[in-house]
């Protein structure tokens, strides 16, 4: 298995990359390559041109700006995993990263690459949903910002045009009283999830004032369990409330594939959601 022939471009600035994406027909962006390279090796894809983003230094950074954390789209997963800033402000991202592939794939793999590849069972899109991430997308003509919840239009299809490049992702930093949890069931460590759940809760004066429950692996895209979120919001995080909330996950899309049936995924979803909201609530209480 070898990649099919392609024309190779490796711009060293974003501006140059954007100009290439406007000018070239049938060009594919190469980020960390941990999904695109296998697809090329197996010849699932055969673009005329590859535009490699790896030399664009300005897309690799992670910093705090007032009440948000800004991460360059080409920042390596391994660097994010080791980031003290993320450990402090967005520990949910660090937790989830330990489930993303393996040491060797995280060395190359990037945050932006994973979000744009949009595998339905990947971890990072689920975390980006739970954290209300915003994606900053640019073409040589214009810049725009899109919420993660609007980014997935369909199975592995992000709302991004061929001439556009995802440049950075922003996450609000955690406020006092925030609890996070990430739960995943996969067949082996580092595999894509059969189901995973990312939860972010904020508790003020004993009541949940903000709830995000995001689910991956279950359906064709990462989803928010919005009925679960509403059932939690405004309530005290006691057993009865959590039990009732989990029951409302039954509108989350679950699909069957070689790894699991619909019924099995639905069961996993309830178990993992219950664990995640319990853990997030405990953490939120201790942080508030």
């Amino acid at each position: 298995m070898k990649p099919p022939p392609f024309d190779y471009y490796d711009p060293s600035s974003l501006e140059e990359g954007l100009a290439l994406m406007s000018a070239l027909d049938d060009a594919k962006l190469l980020a960390g390559g941990q999904s695109l390279m296998p697809m090329l090796n197996m010849r699932y894809v055969a673009p005329r041109s590859i535009v490699d983003l790896n030399r664009i230094q300005e897309l690799q950074f992670c910093r705090r700006e007032r009440d948000i954390v800004v991460i360059g789209a080409m920042t390596r997963q391994r660097d994010l995993e080791a980031s003290n800033l993320l450990r402090e402000e967005l520990p949910l991202v660090v937790d989830a990263l330990t489930h993303v592939g393996h040491l060797q794939t995280r060395t190359r793999g990037t945050l932006g690459g994973s979000l744009c590849h949009l595998d339905p069972a990947a971890e990072l899109p689920v975390v980006a949903l739970a954290l209300d991430a915003k994606l900053h997308v640019q073409s040589s003509q214009e810049k725009r910002e899109i919420a993660m919840r609007d980014f997935a239009t369909f199975y592995m299809t992000p709302d991004i045009a061929p001439s556009e490049i995802l440049t950075e992702i922003t996450f609000p930093v955690r406020v006092a009283g925030t609890g996070y949890a990430f739960e995943e069931f996969a067949r082996r460590h580092g595999d894509f999830a059969v189901v995973n759940v990312a939860v972010s809760l904020v508790i003020e004066a004993d009541r949940i004032v903000h709830a995000r429950v995001a689910v991956g692996g279950a359906g064709s895209v990462a989803q928010r369990a919005e009925r679960v979120e509403s059932a939690l919001t405004g309530e005290r995080p006691d057993e009865a409330v959590l039990d009732e909330a989990v029951r409302l996950s039954d509108d989350v899309e679950c699909i069957a594939d070689i790894h699991a049936t619909v019924e099995y995924r639905r069961h996993l979803l309830t178990v993992l959601t219950r664990r995640a909201i319990t853990r997030a609530a405990e953490q939120a209480v201790s942080e508030s």
Binding site: M1, K2, P3, P4, P5, F6, D7, Y8, Y9, D10, G33, Q34, M37, P38, L40, N41, M42, S49, I50, D52, N54, R78, T98, G101, H102, L103, Q104, T105, T107, R108, R188, H189, G190
Partner: protein, 174 residues
């Protein structure tokens, strides 16, 4: 065809491989694993699945373990690559290699180079690993012979030998 069309399919790269400086013109679609094996004759790096699952092709690029089948040779221009051939010094095995021999950490040996290179990177950052951490670190390296028990035993032993070597290198006995 534009005047630069030729350079879109082939590129000259300069890399340091196992301490040796190498200049080569390569196809842009050539992977690092095929580069070291076919262009440089370093066949210690093995290719198993060629789509990033098995870990047999793991090499170090600037000290970090990567899948050699998922990185293009052109992307390593200007970097330092290390393969399994860099481990032994003369006739003396690297402590990890010695541990793998003594603990029967390999049978057919196909996966071993990838495992060794993964461990070189991992143990540099985690010199005193728990067994469970080693299992996670090696979860991206498939072995179809051993059942992993002896691999983990060898990795634990190898980590201890590396610590001893570190101690003797700086002359301080701990």
């Amino acid at each position: 065809m534009s005047p630069d069309a030729g350079t879109r399919r082939r590129r000259e790269i300069q890399v340091t491989v196992n301490g040796r400086s190498v200049d080569r013109e390569v196809d842009v679609r050539l992977t690092v694993a095929d580069f070291v094996r076919n262009e440089l004759g370093l066949t210690g790096t093995h290719l198993g699945c060629e789509h990033g699952v098995c870990g047999a092709c793991t090499v170090l690029v600037d000290g970090r373990a990567v899948r050699g089948c998922l990185t293009l040779a052109v992307q390593t221009d200007g970097t330092e690559i290390r393969t399994v051939e860099s481990l032994a010094e003369g006739g003396t095995m690297h402590p990890l290699q010695a541990a793998f021999r003594d603990q029967h950490g390999l049978q057919c040996g196909y996966c071993t180079p990838g495992i060794l290179m993964t461990l070189v990177d991992f143990l540099k950052h985690n010199p005193v690993p728990e067994e469970s951490e080693l299992k996670t670190a090696l979860s991206g390296n498939l072995c179809r012979c051993t059942g992993y028990q002896n691999i983990i035993a060898a990795a634990m032993d190898g980590a201890a030998r590396l610590r001893l070597q570190e101690d003797s290198d700086d002359g301080v006995r701990r």
